[in-house]
Structure formats: structure tokens, C-alpha cells
Homo-oligomer: 448 residues x 2
């Protein structure tokens, strides 16, 4: 079996470039317009993408003034997209810190039932005090607490998803037996963070369980991913960095006894494309010219965890920012910015430009051929099993990618001509997991 | 303006009769089949019903063996139905005891955005220890605690839904101002049960806020309904009982300063219909004959909070059950059963038969004319502003009602010929609520 490239369309209102909403073509109300997202999902499905994906955080990112803000609850949104599509996977981000396992397991199980086995859950622990303050906390739990809860959350969720065996529903009208009680199980979880009796009130998914995805880049995040993730979203600016990460995570998964081929590594890329390099650069320049420098500076200050007043657009970074790491803040983007500032000696304005729209992800400015080359190189040289395609402008950036890059990937034999399966697991080449309870019961019956 | 009858289609897998799934026509997997629910929602919309409605509890009702069990998360399900319909309202039950206000406000706001203002929330506090055990509790909070939390939950939710003013999104591409920060508000709620900073990360709904519905029949439930509910779901077996309830709730709403016309009273009815009384009775008998008596006895024992061994199908109820009321159990259905047993001296088997499929709601066995007469009488004699139609078998029971009863209601000028609005508030004749924050701001500007 040949290895098949994975492509997800990572969707975000009018696109991943912060200025995309200011282009004449963009709809400033796109974020709450279901037709906008239906169009995008159908476009991605026509191109045989593996999945559409939504990031998420249960908080209004401040300041909301200069960029489309707010977002529909992604599982609710994906349920509406499920009926507008037939095959494409549907991946939503959701937080283990600010949900109850029973509710979240049920939401994803419901999406999986509605979509016939196409759902995926991007597990996040949600860094930041702002989100915590929407959930009766003054500050976020520290990282180790968040990951300890996430670990137990996943155990509970997996058991709940397995609490109905696949053959639990008998549906025998003559005898009046709708379900076999011996095939529906309480989970009776008693843990440090949760006590959950179960069973779940939704039957098992057509794909066994929703696909588990994770994107944490911290040490704790990587350990969690190695244990749980079936796909890992990641951000890299260079082939070497991506290869290191790829090797490390595959090795760590193998160390905990998993098949490393069942852990898909998927970096994000922001393709800013044109038929020539000049044309692509013109679009990049047009978007960059629409950035409000003071707004970008504020965002940069957030990443660095400093007061915006400490930064000047036309000066280099003040010294000593590396020491100002408040405990429990996310540091991977901050380290990227410090690298640009201290190692390459760029001004704040230059850093903003250099960072590009990808928030740590690779931005490609070039032709479809160049984008395909990049994808092929990373895919064949041990840096990626596929990509999150982060169009800078939506829908036009995704349309362009579908029309011009996907055909090249097909010509090169890298990407599917048509779907061979109808579940997200099937698209990703992941096996349907065995049901814990069915396995235990089979084992007991064998012993008896 | 003439008063307009409200009709909701209360949907439940293969129907409200516990034996409906055993009929040859029924699909035993209907509960997780999105096409089944799409068909039902479209059918109700073609008939210009006000809304479809799903009951819910975050627990697998035991025993699951003898009847379709499990249910998709109703907001997720309704999101999928939103895109298969255009006008009909979408009402989901959700619990204030086992959700966080930020998450739930967001789910309903998302459904409201996706459906263009058609969502309603049936607020429940979720009685029962079984549900509590899915949420890290050994037992349910007592009723007064549950209602105190619900009260605060509603306050928070309403503020979150108002946290964006209607004109918050400016979308000025030239200046780069996407939203006016002065029109997006933190709520800074500091209460006994919740501390929620806000703002919500979803803009205000096209209908202002989702419609609030409530169905508690206890004293605490009625008080809550009088303060918060814009529609009240209720169960009555007689015109007099329904009239008493109608008068009481309208009066209590007026007492707390509300316009009693903005509180819609909606009893449930189970129409078992045929072109003649004999034909209708034949369907009722067919369904009743499929009831498994021992299973019905178990359910009755649950209602009475007694051991099933204490009941005998062919004997009257043992004496003294009225004293056996565990604190904090729901008692309205129990009282109904005790009335049948002690006042009318029926055997357990007769009680089961007499209760019918409606679980306390009125069952009508008869012709379309008789059903229309009943509806007209209750509607015109101060017992109802409309009804939850609980078809005993789905889809056929709803099809029959739509085809044979709705035309009679139209001939009598009771029910709409077509939608005049496209939001649930519009269908129900409820005003769009003023935004708290906009009102406060307008007031301050006036004072200044």
C-alpha cells in the first residue's frame, strides 16, 4: 500500500491572514454565516480533502476590534456541515479543562452518528487566564494540572465511547428486545478529577471512536500526544525542525507501545500563491499593507507577555525579554519571536512581517509548482504525513489551492483521485479501534 | 391581531408510544439516523408548525433493553436539522445542573446563528441521581439547590447573549475597524454558583436571544417558569386541570411584572387517530398489545419509587404508597398514578393502560375532527395557547396529523396558512428582547 498524503482544510472566517477581511472580496460577517462554511466544506470535499478543521477557545480573543472575532461552537457548526457533505472528515477543537467528559463525549459521538463516522477531536487544554475567567476561576490551572486532567478526561471519554458494543442494538421486534443489556456497559470511573458512571447515551460510532488529534508543542503536550494522538497538528518554519519533530514524536509513540504509522504528523502551511512568484508576492504585499502596525504590535506584546509600551515598531526588541516568562504561559511562539529578534536582530516591524500570517506556521509565497514541491519534499523526507492547509484568504485561497496545487499533487501520485472510504479514520488510514469492553468480555468468555 | 395557535412537533425516535418501535413500519435504528429526523422536521415545516422539540437528559435511561434508548445531543442534532429546513423553530432541552453557562450560552447562540434565529432552550434542572453520577456526584443536588443554580444560570446566560450589541460589528474595511469595542461588553458576573467574565464569543442572535422554555410542574418549577419562561410545556389529563394551570401561570407571570401574553402555555397531546373511532381504537389496541407488561410494571415502579416486586399486574396498588416519598424525587407523575390507583381502584395493568403512552399527557383516541375539537376547545377556553404534538408513532403519526388535523384547524381559522416570520420568536408572537447593555448605555448617555 502506498502512503497517502493527508490534506486538511483549516478554516477560519475570511482566512488566516489577519487582514483578509479587509480585501474587497471578503464578507465581514463570514464568521457567523453558515453558507460561507458550507461552500468551503463542499469545495474541500470536491477536492477530496481528508477533513475540514476548526481551532477553538471558549473566550473572546481580545482585542476584538481589528479582526473578525467570535466563533460558532465548532461541533455545532460541524453538525450543520455534516449534512451539506458526504465524505469529508469534520474536526473540531475542544477543551478538556472547561468541559465535562460526559457532555463532550456525547457531542462528538453525536457528530459521529450524524456524519456516519467522520468526526475528529483536536484535544486542547486551553492556556490562558482569560478563558479560565469564563469558568468560575481567577486563573488557569497550571500546565501539569491541565494535562493531568486531560489524561484522565481521555480515559473516561474512550470508555464512554466504548460503552455500547457494536452489536448492542438487537432490535428484535417479535420478542420486544431492543438492546442486549450485556452489551451496554457502565464504566464506573473513579478518578482524581472525575467520577463517571456511564454508560454513554449514544451508541458506538460507525468509525469506532472519533479520531483523536493534538497540537501541544510543550514537553507535556508532546508526551500527551505520543500516548493519545492519532494525528498531531504542528507548526514549523524549516524542514529540519519539522524532521526533528517528526522523528521525535514517532519514536515517542513507539516507546509507549504504539504503531508509529498510526500517528500522523501534520504541519500547517499558509500558501500565498500566484501563477508567478511576482504575482504571489503582490498578493502577499497587498495583505501585509493592510496590517495595522499598532494592532500587530499589540498582538506581538501578548505573545511576548510584555506591555505594548515596551515595544517600538522601528526598534529591535528590548534586551532581557527571555527572562520575563511568567510561569505557565505558552512559550513556543514566544521563543520563535525571540529568535527572530535576538538572533537575526530584526526590528519589531520586521519581525511582524517575517512572522507572516501563519502564527508560527510556514508561509509559502510562490507558484503552485513551488507549493507542490514543498509539500512533496516534506512528505517524502520524513517531515510530514500531510498538511493543514491554512488559506490566507477564504474562500479564494482555498479555491486557488484546489484548482492549481491539488492537480499537481495528483499528477505526482501523492494525493488521492477519489475517496476510498467514507470515515475520517478511513481517509487517514487509521484502524477502527477494538472496543475495550468487547475485548474484556471475549477474554472472560475464553477463560471461562 | 387574532391569536394564533402554536403547534410544536415533539419528536422521539419511533414515536411516543413505548411499543412504536415494534410495529412493522418502524426503523429500530431511527434514534441515530439523521435522515429520519430530517424527514420529520421537513414534514413539520411543510405543515407550518412552529417548532420541532427534543426532550433530553444526560444519562442512559435504564433499563435500555425494551425500548429504543440513547439520544443524540439535541443541540448538535438540531444544527444538522437547521440546514435541512428554513423556517421552523428548533427547541432543545438542556440542563442547568450539568453544564457551564458559557458553554451552553454559546451552543444555543451558535444554533441561533446557524438557523437565523430559530432556536429555543427548554431549561431543565435534571432530576435523578443517575444523571448526577455521570458528573462526579453521588446524588443529585436537592431541588432548591438545583433551582437556585438555574436562576443564576439564566441570569448569566441572558447577559452573555446580550454581550454583543446588535450593531457591534462595524466591518469598516477602510479604517480597519471590524468591531466597535464599546458595543461588546464584559459581563463580570460574580455570583454564588458562577463567576463569568465574558463577553460571549458569538455575536447576538438574529432573534435577540433564544426563546426560553420551561416544563417544571413543582412549586419551584412554576415560580421559575413565571419569572423566566416564554413558553411552558405542561401535562394535563383534563380541561379543568389545564385551565387551572393556565390561569395560575399567567397570573404568576403578571405578578412578577411580565406581560402574561408573552408566556405561552403549551400542553402535550398524544393523538392516536383514525378515520373512525373504531379505526383509531384499533391502532391504540395494536400498540397496547405490544407493551411488555413486566417492563411497563418496572417503569411504573420507578414512577412510584418502589421495588417492582411490590406490584402485581392484576392487583390494585398496595396501600400506603403515598407515604413513601423520598425527598427530592419528582412527584407529579407519581400523584397521577396514585390517583388512578386509590381513587379509581384500578389494578396495575389497568393503570398502565389508562396512563397510555403520554406519560401524564392527554392521549386522544379518535378522529381528526375530534382531535381538532379538543384542540379548539382547550385553545379557546383558556387552557392552552397551543400544543406539543406527541405522535405515538413516527413518522406515520405526524404524517396523519399533518394531513388530516391541520387542514381542519386551518378551515376553522385557528392555524396559519403560511409562515409570517422566520424566527421562533416571530412564530410564537414574542417580541425581540431589548439588549440589557444597549439599554444601560442609552440610559447613561441620556443622563450625561
Amino acid at each position: 500500500m502506498t502512503r497517502s498524503l493527508i490534506l486538511n482544510a483549516f478554516l477560519m472566517t475570511t482566512g488566516h491572514h489577519e487582514s483578509s477581511w479587509r480585501l474587497p472580496e471578503s464578507d465581514t460577517g463570514a464568521g457567523t454565516d453558515i453558507r460561507h462554511y458550507q461552500r468551503l466544506a463542499q469545495l474541500a470535499e470536491q477536492a477530496k480533502f481528508d477533513a475540514v478543521f476548526f481551532a477553538d477557545s471558549p473566550v473572546l480573543q481580545a482585542p476584538p476590534a481589528q479582526r473578525p472575532a467570535g466563533a460558532l461552537d465548532p461541533v455545532t457548526l460541524l453538525a450543520a456541515l455534516a449534512t451539506a457533505t458526504e465524505k469529508i472528515g469534520l474536526i473540531a477543537t475542544a477543551s478538556t479543562s472547561y468541559n465535562e467528559p460526559y457532555n463532550l463525549a456525547r457531542k462528538f459521538a453525536s457528530l459521529d452518528a450524524i456524519s456516519n463516522g467522520r468526526s475528529g477531536w483536536n484535544v486542547v487544554t486551553t492556556a490562558g487566564d482569560a478563558a479560565a475567567r469564563n469558568f468560575s476561576r481567577n486563573a488557569q490551572p497550571d500546565s501539569s494540572q491541565r494535562y493531568a486532567r486531560a489524561e484522565e478526561f481521555l480515559k473516561v471519554t474512550e470508555r464512554l465511547w466504548d460503552s455500547w458494543e457494536d452489536d448492542a442494538r438487537v432490535g428484535d421486534k417479535d420478542s420486544g428486545v431492543w438492546a442486549a443489556p450485556t452489551r451496554i456497559h457502565r464504566i464506573d470511573h473513579q478518578g482524581e478529577h472525575f467520577q463517571v458512571a456511564g454508560p454513554l447515551n449514544v451508541p458506538r460510532s460507525p468509525q469506532g471512536r472519533p479520531v483523536i488529534i493534538q497540537a501541544g508543542a510543550s514537553e507535556a503536550g508532546k508526551g500527551f500526544a505520543a500516548r493519545w494522538a492519532e494525528a498531531i497538528f504542528t507548526a514549523h518554519q524549516s524542514l529540519a525542525s519539522a524532521q526533528d519533530f517528526y522523528r521525535e514524536l514517532k519514536a515517542r509513540a513507539a516507546e509507549v507501545g504504539r504503531n508509529s504509522q498510526e500517528v500522523k504528523i501534520l504541519p500547517g502551511i499558509v500558501p500565498i500563491l500566484g501563477s508567478t512568484q511576482t504575482e504571489a508576492q503582490r498578493l502577499a504585499d497587498e495583505l501585509d499593507a493592510l496590517i495595522l502596525p499598532q494592532y500587530a504590535l499589540q498582538n506581538l506584546a501578548q505573545v511576548l507577555h510584555v506591555d505594548p509600551a515596551e515595544l517600538d515598531l522601528d526598534r529591535v526588541l528590548p534586551q532581557g525579554l527571555g527572562q520575563l516568562v511568567p510561569a505557565e504561559k505558552s512559550t513556543s511562539r514566544r521563543d520563535l519571536v525571540l529568535g527572530l529578534g535576538y538572533e537575526r536582530n530584526l526590528t519589531v516591524r520586521q519581525i511582524i512581517r517575517e512572522l507572516g500570517p501563519g502564527r508560527g506556521h510556514q508561509t509559502l509565497v510562490g507558484t503552485p509548482e513551488q507549493a507542490a514541491d514543498h509539500i512533496e519534499q516534506w512528505f517524502t523526507q520524513g517531515a510530514a504525513d500531510g498538511f493543514n492547509i491554512m488559506a490566507p484568504v477564504l474562500p479564494s485561497g482555498l479555491e486557488y489551492f484546489v484548482e492549481h496545487v491539488v492537480p499537481i499533487l495528483r499528477q505526482r501520485g501523492l494525493f488521492r483521485e477519489d475517496y476510498e472510504d467514507s470515515t475520517l479514520r478511513g481517509h487517514y488510514g487509521l484502524p477502527v479501534p477494538r472496543n475495550h469492553f468487547a475485548r474484556e468480555r471475549a477474554h472472560q468468555e475464553q477463560v471461562a
